[in-house]
């Protein structure tokens, strides 16, 4: 049993180190490429901090990941292990918060590759990695165990862990689409009918369908990787509203966002009405 636990811990260590290094390199590459990282796709928790801090924040994150990866690989000291738990626990919370406050931004976990909006998979991945960090802390293995523990069991554990992470990685869907289409989502033509059929199968549609007063959208347009549909609606009190659905155009089960706004809300510059409606109804 001890052998199995240490094998699991070694596999978890390998996965953690691999992901920390990949994440760090991708973040540095994104930060170094442009003076305005992810200005268009608006990446990561950086959007929650003031604009001038976004690039330093990304670089700080990347350096932190390298330090943790090195600590896990070369020492058995508990400090980098607790640091890794803290890193992924905070990441889980921050992604949850990001999803609630800015549903249009990607997690930025792997820099520009993580441009699709934060969903339960990204949050689940951070939570799983935090769990792996707990395992590595309880069974303090290091890089030298990777060689001494090398066995079929270790390969199986490693394979299972990586498969789980692939399932939890929204980057894979966009990666496959890029290989097929050679263009990022923002540049691919996507018929409006496909987005509409995706919308009709979403839980957001089902929960708001009773309040809609028309089957046909009153307006529809596309901006970057989102298609918007506006439907006229009515609240329970009888006030006229507009229900705005935003459908992400990449992935098999794309995120759908929704907001209910008063017909005199946006466009008249009334920010209060808007903010209120976001808090009540935006998000999944």
């Amino acid at each position: 049993m001890t052998v199995e636990t240490s094998t699991l811990a070694t596999a978890a260590l390998a996965i953690l180190v691999l992901l920390l290094i990949f994440g760090g390199v991708a973040k540095l590459a994104t930060a170094g490429r442009d003076a305005d990282p992810g200005g268009l796709s608006r990446l990561g928790p950086g959007v929650l901090v003031p604009e001038r801090w976004r690039k330093p924040f990304m670089i700080f994150c990347a350096v932190g990941e390298f330090v943790l990866a090195a600590g896990l690989l070369f020492t058995r000291h508990p400090l980098p292990r607790w640091g890794t738990i803290a890193f992924f626990s905070v990441a889980t919370y921050v992604l949850w918060e990001l999803r609630r406050r800015r549903p249009d931004v990607g997690c930025g976990c792997f820099g520009e590759a993580s441009g699709s909006p934060v969903g339960l998979r990204s949050i689940g991945r951070a939570a799983v990695l935090a769990g792996m960090a707990v395992v590595v802390t309880l069974v303090p293995v290091s890089g030298t165990d990777l060689w001494s523990e090398a066995s079929l069991n270790l390969a199986e554990s490693l394979g299972a862990g990586l498969a789980l992470l692939v399932l939890l990685s929204p980057e894979m869907g966009e990666g496959i689409a890029r290989v097929r289409h050679r263009a990022p989502c923002e540049q691919r033509p996507v018929p409006a009918s496909r987005a509409l059929s995706r919308l009709r199968t979403s839980t957001e549609w089902r929960s708001h369908a009773p309040s809609l007063t028309s089957e046909e959208p009153s307006d529809s347009w596309r901006e970057l990787c989102w298609r918007f549909f506006v439907y006229p609606g009515r609240t329970a009190a009888g006030a006229e509203t507009e229900v705005v659905f935003a459908v992400y155009l990449s992935g098999r089960r794309p995120p759908v966002r929704v907001a209910v706004v008063g017909t005199d809300g946006p466009g008249t510059g009334s920010d209060d009405i808007l903010q209120e409606s976001i808090g009540v109804s935006a998000g999944r």
């Binding site: 442009d34 305005d36 990282p37 992810g38 200005g39 268009l40 796709s41 406050r101 800015r102 549903p103 249009d104 520009e112 590759a113 441009g115 050679r182 263009a183 990022p184 923002e186 540049q187 033509p189 409006a192 009153s218 307006d219 529809s220 347009w221 596309r222 901006e223 970057l224 989102w226 918007f228 506006v230 507009e242 705005v244 659905f245 935003a246 966002r257 929704v258 907001a259 706004v261 809300g265 946006p266 466009g267 510059g269 920010d271 808007l274 409606s277 976001i278 935006a282």
Partner: protein
């Protein structure tokens, strides 16, 4: 539904701020554009009636120049001329005046030679229709040098003056692309994500309302913009919509503005040319601006383009 509500509705759905972003203070344009019709002009003062019917009085700067088919002294502009003025000092000092300036951008449909002048019929896109223009003999050499394929099916882009309803072309606005209008090169494969700012050439068009600030963008979905020819560009541009806010920066002058997309730039997307206003821009006409916005960003109407960077506002 008006497209001007789209930005606010999209912001509500995605949790963005409903107030469009602003450009940095140092990039804020210090120039203003004033359009109208000359009521009176002297060497030192010009009075114009703007599109709202109000009179505007501007001092003509000693260094000011004017264009009315050719370089002229400002005082030589005839009364009644429709002008676009670039002004400084909060719009009180005129330093550049363009009179009756117009631009013809489109696909050549037919050519006809009348005495020594050439009459060309140009398809300027679904929203702008067809225009018949005259290339006077005196300008034909300049036009032919920059438009070697002066035959139906090829692109045409020139600047001229409009007098009594007839457009007389005076200057080529660009070097004609060597391909037919239907054979626009495909954008290069994108091996990385969409960049936050895309560089290329910004042109102007007179298809906007008088004095309107806004931009025409090529990469719109045809169904959303009532423009079947939209969605063509030789640059890897992301899809945006009518009503989106677009950051447009003039690389040469360090001015920038966030402008609404108000029209479909279906003709601009077919031009895979470069602007050489300051250095050589990357290939591709990425945005078409209204004359007022073009002038406020520091562009020269008679030069036709500036090196630009665009991005989502």
């Amino acid at each position: 539904m008006g497209v001007e509500r789209r930005y606010a509705l999209a912001s509500a759905a995605l949790g963005r701020s409903a107030v469009p972003p602003q450009v940095e203070v140092e990039e804020h344009p210090t120039l203003s554009a004033i359009s109208g019709q000359i009521i009176d002009i002297s060497p030192h003062l010009v009075i114009v009636e703007n599109p709202d019917g109000e009179e505007e009085r501007l001092i003509i700067a000693p260094w000011a120049t004017a264009w009315h088919g050719a370089q002229v002294a400002p005082a030589d502009l005839p009364i009644g001329t429709r002008v676009m003025i670039r002004a400084r000092q909060s719009g009180r000092v005129a330093e550049r005046i363009w009179g009756d300036v117009t631009r013809v951008t489109g696909v050549i449909l037919s050519l006809e030679e009348e005495r020594r002048d050439l009459t060309i019929e140009v398809d300027c896109g679904p929203h702008r229709g067809r225009r018949a223009i005259v290339v006077p003999y005196g300008a034909s050499g300049r036009i032919r040098v920059r438009h070697p394929q002066l035959e139906p099916g090829y692109l045409f882009d020139a600047i001229g003056i409009r007098r009594e309803g007839v457009t007389h072309v005076r200057l080529p606005a660009t070097s004609q692309p060597p391909y037919r209008a239907t054979a626009v090169p495909a954008p290069p494969p994108a091996y990385r994500g969409v960049q936050s700012r895309i560089s290329g050439a910004a042109a102007w068009s007179d298809a906007f309302d008088d004095g309107e600030a806004g931009a025409a963008y090529p990469m719109l979905e045809g169904a959303d913009s009532d423009c079947e020819d939209a969605g063509v560009s030789c640059t890897g541009l992301p899809y945006l919509a009518l009503g989106s806010m677009l950051y447009v920066g003039n690389v040469c002058e360090a001015h920038a503005a966030v402008l609404p997309i108000v029209a479909c730039g279906c003709m601009a997307g077919r031009f895979c040319d470069r602007c050489v206003e300051c250095g050589t821009s990357p290939r591709g006409r990425i945005v078409e601006l209204s004359p007022a916005s073009f002038v406020e960003l520091g562009g020269e109407l008679t030069k036709g383009c500036f090196n630009a960077r665009v991005g989502l506002g």
